[in-house]
């Protein structure tokens, strides 16, 4: 065995993320339907489709249903605080690509609450014109002002 490549390597896949606790328990019909819908939307996004979202506030859910749903989705690695006209939070769930998004206004009232199915929450994506404006701003900050007449004369 003279070459490194000759060493047989068996790559073991990382253990699949443990199924959220509630998934193994009894789930109400409404929550099960919602999880199925999220799975379907994830598949659609995985195949190159547009990001999707489900408006949680429009669903007639009992507090128990909501608790079940939150437990079923679990929590992930990322939590984002958005400070724009009030403090909002975006939390990754244990299912990659599924985000809990809760927008609050400046008084702390929840104004939107939805489950977003996307690689990255859409509100985080910076628009092209904003990138351009940012570049212009930095160039303006580093631009050396043209020499004055006196400086030109001395030179």
């Amino acid at each position: 065995m003279s070459r490194l490549g000759a060493i047989p390597i068996h790559v073991e896949p990382r253990p699949v993320e443990a199924a959220p606790a509630a998934l193994s328990g009894t789930i109400g019909g409404g929550v099960a339907a919602l999880l199925t819908e999220i799975a379907m939307l994830l598949e659609r996004v995985a195949q190159g489709g547009e990001p999707q979202a489900i408006d949680v506030r429009s669903l007639p859910m009992s507090p128990d249903d909501r608790t079940q749903l939150v437990a079923a989705l679990g929590s992930g690695e990322i939590e984002i605080t958005l400070r724009a006209d009030g403090e909002s939070t975006i939390r990754e769930t244990s299912v990659r690509g599924v985000w809990w998004t809760e927008y609050r206004d400046r008084h702390g009232t929840v104004v939107a609450n939805f489950i977003e199915i996307a690689p990255v929450p859409q509100i985080l994506v910076v628009e092209t014109d904003e990138l351009q404006r940012g570049a212009e701003r930095l160039r303006a900050a580093t631009r050396v002002p043209p020499p004055s007449r006196e400086e030109q004369a001395n030179a």
Binding site: R57, L82, E116
Partner: protein, 374 residues
Amino acid sequence: MPDRDREPTIGELLDRSGVSRRGFVKYCTAMASLLALPPLAGRAMAQQLRAAHRPSVIYLSFQECTGCLESLTRSFSPTLESLLFDVISLDYDDTLQAAAGKQAEQARDRAMKENYGKYIVVVDGSVPTNDGGVYSCAGGRSAVDVLTEAAKDAAAIICVGTCSAFGGIPHADPNPTGARAVSDIIGDKPIVNVSGCPPIPEVITGTLLQFVTTGQVPDLDAHGRPTVFFGNTIHDRCYRRPFYDQGKFAKTFDDEGARNGWCLYELGCKGPTTYNACATVKWNGGVSFPIESGHPCLGCAEPDFWDRGSFYSPLASARWGKAGEVSPTEAAEIAAGAVAVGAALGVGSVLLGRHRQKARIEGSEKQEDGDGSH
């Protein structure tokens, strides 16, 4: 002549006031949620709104109690101030504006002239027509006169509250002032009815925003109400609906059923025949709605709700009268109102509710007779 199109766009105004793109997308997402649009439509909505100009709004108050305006000023999302500063230009509202007398009337005339064919008229209150309309006058002019003039060059009319939409309480029997709905007087303009006594504040602001965003009148139901807010009955979206389907009803306001949060149908709830967004949008920033507070729906978003019998009679009694048998046609009508799931049970509930309440009333009358109190 000054023109709204030469003024800055909503986006330019937002940039000047330091509102970030994300802040505005967030705001529009909340709006999209309210309008039952997909949440991610907020991004497209933000782009569209940023490019638009603030429309001129003329708010006319006629035969009303100012409850609708009180409701509007308590809008959480969007707040009234954000609506006023960011999205619309409220050029006339005799209750909110600082100007009074001739200056106020001049402001209205100027807004109408400068925004010919583009302004929105919001009407709050019914229009009295008896005796030359003398029962509601401002600046020496009757409501009919002011409405007819303002509507002439408007892009659309939004009727806020059951009074302007259907005549409301002033129209209730015997209607001494000859109160009429705006749609009875104006027939050649798009009219959107945002009924309710008062309407949910977010439904008022949401309807205005929808109009500004799309520039079009939304889809309307048979009563001219936006289907996005008035597409379902309170009963369809009520969290107590499972109890109705199971036949579990509160029979008094303090019995076991009331304590357990069971259906309020037998206490006179008009949810099955009332179309509104109370059960989903709710009140006070989404805190609750009347049924959640233990009170039956009064049906205030429906025409003539004041004249439909007692608020506390089960729907069957209110619709069918106090005595007499139920005809098959009437039973079928109620069954249709009760929606497919549990419809058969619904008819049963109607009958049971009527009989139970009748028995209770007769029982209490006998007791009162026995007491000699009446």
